[in-house]
């Protein structure tokens, strides 16, 4: 039962070892010549103009809320998919009603232009 997850544990172990090992090795072995340009978030990238901690537009928030709603919808599809063969036509119909109800919501959101970015 639990041993089914042993490969995931090994995978996690390799991930942590890699994430810790590579910076450690490069700090030990590599040469170090610190300069202000190297401390930038993106070296040789666009020079930062202001702090990243500034207020964001409320439009992001609407997108996040709509994302949660349709995320919750999708979570019901996972258990449904495991037994859809046993449920037969009944399963298709009940999930059809569920999805059509939410499609009404999607149509409303679309019609109101909430998916448009302006």
């Amino acid at each position: 039962m639990l041993s089914d997850y042993a490969p995931i544990l090994v995978f996690l172990g390799i991930c942590v070892a890699f994430a810790v090992g590579v910076p450690t090795l490069s700090a030990l072995l590599g040469p170090r010549h610190p300069s202000p340009a190297k401390d930038l978030p993106y070296e040789s990238g666009i020079v930062p103009r202001e702090t990243a901690r500034r207020r964001f537009s409320v439009s992001f928030y609407v997108t996040a809320m709509l994302f949660i709603i349709f995320d919750v919808e999708s979570i019901f599809l996972f258990p449904w998919a495991t037994i859809v063969r046993q449920l037969k036509v009944f399963g298709i119909v009940e999930m059809g009603i569920f999805i059509v109800t939410l499609l009404v919501g999607l149509a409303y959101v679309w019609r109101k232009g909430a998916l448009r970015w302006d």
Partner: protein, 185 residues
Amino acid sequence: MTALIAVVMALAAISAIGVVLSPQTIYSALSLVVTVTMISVLFLLLNAQFLFAVQLIIYAGAVMVLFVFIIALLNPEAEDRPALDYRAMIGLAAVAAVTILVFVTARNGITYGSGGFRGQQVGAASNPYHTFAFGADAVNAAGNVQTVAGQLFTTYLLPFEITSLLLLVAAIGAVYLTRRTKEAA
């Protein structure tokens, strides 16, 4: 098994303390991601695979996105750190009391029904938690996700369909409220 649960619980507790003590709000949010992920791993260790997926997709995914956007929406630099005054002490005492009560309730299997509060021995024949007609081993043999699905899409069909109405109302409400503020601006 028990050692693994202990490690996961310890990580959850440490990251939860990190949520409270982080100097910046965004670090609190990142700590909360770790807490939520550790709780999902606990669900997995307790053989609740469906809850594990829900916890990851809804909480670590969608709800955390919402939290981060709220942090970005409000001005995180103008944050007031609450002082540890008498109100904080009252809140702390209330949280401790509720936590102890929950532990006592769970330990003694106390349920609340139409007849008021009712104490029962956990593991007794009339165990209030075993509303299913089959035992825990049967559930694990059939697959936890399939068992949840079997109940959800047959016995609890009506609540499931009503959920879609709830989500519909939420989608319309989210769009309606934000449209109004835009017209006013």
